[in-house]
Amino acid sequence: MRFALRRLGFFVITLWAALTLNFLLPRLMPGNPALAMLSKFHGQLGPGTLHALEVLFGVNTQKGIVAQYFSYLHQVFTGNFGPSLDFYPESVTSVIGSAIWWTVGLVGVTTVLAFILGTGLGILSAWRRGGRLDSVVPPVFVITSAIPYFWVGMVLVLIFGITLGWLPTQGGYYVSTDTPGLNLTFFQDVLSHAFLPAITLLITTIGTWILTMRNTMITTLAEDYVRMARAKGLPGRRIMTDYAARNAILPNLTGFAMSLGFVVSGAILIEYVFNYPGVGFLLLQAVQGEDYPLEQALFLLITVAVLFAILLADIATALLDPRTRTAG
């Protein structure tokens, strides 16, 4: 119980830190950038919108910084992130709403796949040490995990999109010819557009899973209880899964959550390269268009998503490891 409370506490503190960062950053930059933004849009914004922006960015306000902070928090918790300046007059929340599903689909599915395949390969590679799989895996994946995500994307675009022309390389679907809806053509369209970005993300992130799983697995295989399992004459597969992998995966689950931050970064760049209409692409558009309200909101969104994933990983650890459940 105490374990769960501590994790929840950490969640809250990190959220608070992200909110505060969001609050402080524009106010700390020399010459509040929001001022420039506001002057650009002056006259186009209604008073309500203007006020929301003031609260978010601390411009034109006579309030002390502490008071600003609390109005900021209040506004954020009521879900008012202001208007998107790039997509005016759409609100930030609505803009994000349309982009988020693309990212969830792409990143969500690919990450789960990468995790499953990666840990599986890592387990096998460690189990058959000295075998053919194991001699190939470490060097290959050490190198792939150091390659910048966007470059892999570009290479794939070049080979499969341009040279071979097999797959589309831009966007989420053929905007000009298709309308979103629950029809088969749209579905196929989406899949074909998602294919290259997904493969890119898979290739670049799977290396981490494989290598960390392999490493913990190797250490676990040296444990006495694995030797004991062999001594008992248990079949190899059972030793590999029930005795070794189940223990080896535990430290990786928290690591899984930590590395989500990197999956996120990768997703942003990949969406950029492929013009994929997800949240990452949106963030970059926002930065380039100086759409600060949108930026802020996206940053918070991404942080919350990562925190949730960590919470999930913690729950999984608690389920798999009886020691965490009862102790503390």
Binding site: A146, P148, T219, M258, I268, L269, L284, E295, V306
Partner: protein
């Protein structure tokens, strides 16, 4: 950007091999620091990954220090016909602006290496400071430093970097260095703290404590040298991050687009739709270099992990045939 692979989790750097029976060592116990560097040198030569990584690194260092020796053209002069293909005059052809690509690539190395090494050193310095301090000061200090580290670890760094760089309207290299250093030390700090904690109760430290040495002395003279291999690994990790983060930021236009760097080359290539307009080299070459430099750091890192933990070394399987 991915997690640095192969970072030891609870590493034992005093060279205890994972064997079935610890072999008896004759004579007095050696002070750990003495042999660390010598061992490292020998280990690098024996390990194929380490040698590959070192060779790559040296090549790039050379290009960074003496670009004029490798590329005869000026990287910024748009003096040539644009969009030329590969030739002996222009090893990689020219950009859409008529600049020699090979020269840009070679001269761009310096910017990347500076970022890699400065951020690597600075971030590692911060990480050592915070990690070791947290382990040794304990109590409330440890609690708050660890919390700070964990929070920074969880907050997605790249979006944060994007936002900060965006507010700063894309600074030059200095801004990049500052921003990346300040945000990326947490991963390695965590590992250093973890190792420092496990060392706290080692005998040779107890001996120092009993001798009456002051804490600072113990930390600087006894603990940190023992952690040499992890500190080197941290440097490699941080350098790798720096290269990837910096290039990515430059790629999306948040670095100064007029600096000579691989990331900025990619930026211009993307802006000019290089891939789609038949100028693939413009995008492929700098990307390949980033990948190669990154691979060099990653290989060295992995090799160090194998060196520190012999259980991870390549195993040659033999069948026992005697009966």
């Amino acid at each position: 950007m991915s997690l640095p692979i192969g970072m030891p989790t609870a590493p034992d750097t005093t060279g205890q091999a994972a064997g079935t029976e610890p072999g008896p060592v004759a004579g007095r116990p050696r002070p750990p620091a003495d042999h660390a560097l010598a061992r490292m040198g020998r280990a690098i030569r024996h390990n194929r990954k380490a040698t590959t990584g070192t060779v790559l690194l040296l090549i790039f260092l050379f290009a960074a220090l003496f670009p004029g020796l490798i590329a005869k053209d000026s990287p910024s002069a748009d003096a040539y016909a644009p969009k030329l293909g590969l030739s002996t005059a222009h090893l990689l052809g020219t950009t859409a602006y008529g600049q020699d690509m090979w020269a840009q690539l070679v001269y761009g190395t310096r910017n990347v290496m500076i970022i890699a090494f400065v951020v690597g050193l600075a971030a590692t310095g911060i990480a050592v400071l915070i990690g070791v301090a947290a382990a040794y000061l304990g109590g409330l200090w440890d609690g708050s430093l660890s919390l700070l580290t964990d929070v920074l670890l969880v907050i997605p760094l790249f979006p944060l970097l994007i936002i900060i760089a965006g507010y700063a309207h894309g600074g030059g290299t200095l801004v990049l260095i500052l921003v990346i250093t300040v945000t990326s030390w947490s991963y390695t700090a965590r590992q250093l703290r973890s190792q420092a904690l496990s060392l706290r109760h080692r005998d040779f430290l107890e001996a120092a404590r009993v001798r009456g040495e002051r804490r600072l002395y113990i930390i600087v003279v006894e603990v940190i040298p023992t952690m040499t291999s992890l500190i080197v690994a941290s440097f490699l990790t941080n350098a790798l991050y720096a290269v990837l983060f910096a290039s990515s930021l430059q790629f999306i236009g948040l670095g100064d687009p007029n600096t000579q760097s691989w990331g900025t080359m990619l930026y211009w290539a993307q802006n000019n739709a290089a891939l789609q307009t038949g100028q693939p080299m413009w995008a492929l070459a700098p990307g390949a270099c980033i990948a190669a430099l990154g691979a060099a750091f990653a290989l060295l890192n992995y090799a160090f992990d194998e060196i520190g933990n012999p259980a991870l070394r390549p195993v040659r399987r033999k069948r026992v045939t005697r009966a």
